[in-house]
Symmetry: C2
Subunit: 156 residues, 2 copies
């Protein structure tokens, strides 16, 4: 019925568009797991194509690899995840997308107001206030809006 359900790292790379080195890196981070041949070469399940795809999609939505690992941990460990498992885990992404769209729309509005008055100078127009920062984290490079964002401006 099926010759080989196991695929080599190169094939997984080709199927997902991810570099071989990246897949090894993901394995080191615990995002994917590999079986080994007698000669210590990695062999992946076909289901791992889906797993890597999920990583890519989640990354685009701004999740860090650590966060993605957290999501993936919710898949069943004892058996190969099925369609329903993926549907469940993917719907978490849906929520995140919705939140991001809402945040962007809010920014768009505020920026529209700012263009009107030309201000762009905080407080005055509400753009880039602390509340917005909190609402939008997840949309950009993570380390740019880390936990430190509360301290700095209040110090005076």
């Amino acid at each position: 019925m099926h010759r080989t359900d196991l695929i080599a790292i190169g094939e997984l790379a080709a199927r997902t568009g991810v570099a071989v080195s990246a897949i090894r890196f993901y394995e080191a981070k615990g995002l994917v797991a590999a079986l080994r041949t007698g000669g210590r070469q990695r062999r992946f399940l076909r289901a791992d194509i889906r797993r890597v795809s999920f990583i890519l999609i989640a990354q685009q939505l701004g999740l860090s690899l650590e966060e993605i690992a957290g999501e993936l941990a919710r898949l069943p460990a004892e058996r190969t995840p099925n369609a329903a498992d993926w549907a469940r885990i993917s719907s978490g992404l849906q929520a995140r997308i919705a939140a991001q769209i809402a945040a962007l729309e809010r920014t768009q509005e505020l920026l529209g107001a700012c263009i009107g008055c030309g201000c762009l100078s905080l407080k005055k127009c509400g753009l880039y206030n602390r509340e917005d920062k909190a609402a939008q984290r997840g949309a950009g490079p993570r380390y740019l809006m880390g936990d430190r964002s509360g301290e700095i401006a209040e110090r005076r």
Copy 2:
């Protein structure tokens, strides 16, 4: 009318919520320019508050500092930028926000379809294909979807 139109780096930091070290870093990168006192201390124009605010907003939208520098270069050099100048440059961000929202909505749709079928396995559902990648760049950490995204999978 105005005592001092020049502000110290600490004040610029306090007004924008950015760390002093970050402002020095931005200066080194050419994103802001400073005058100097006799004792070599930096003094900024009040208008630089707006400039730094722009940097922060643009960053949230996923622009790299280099790209932001490019945008800022379009401000008039010979005089302090006025409201109209900022309105012009900010509307570039509006376009970017609109594009990001569109990309996210597209992802949302595709992911919705994927949740329906549970596939998540590329090609099949169109999610995370090369075209989408191109459409969505700008939304996440830049280096994750740089110019190299065409080569890798083709090397076979």
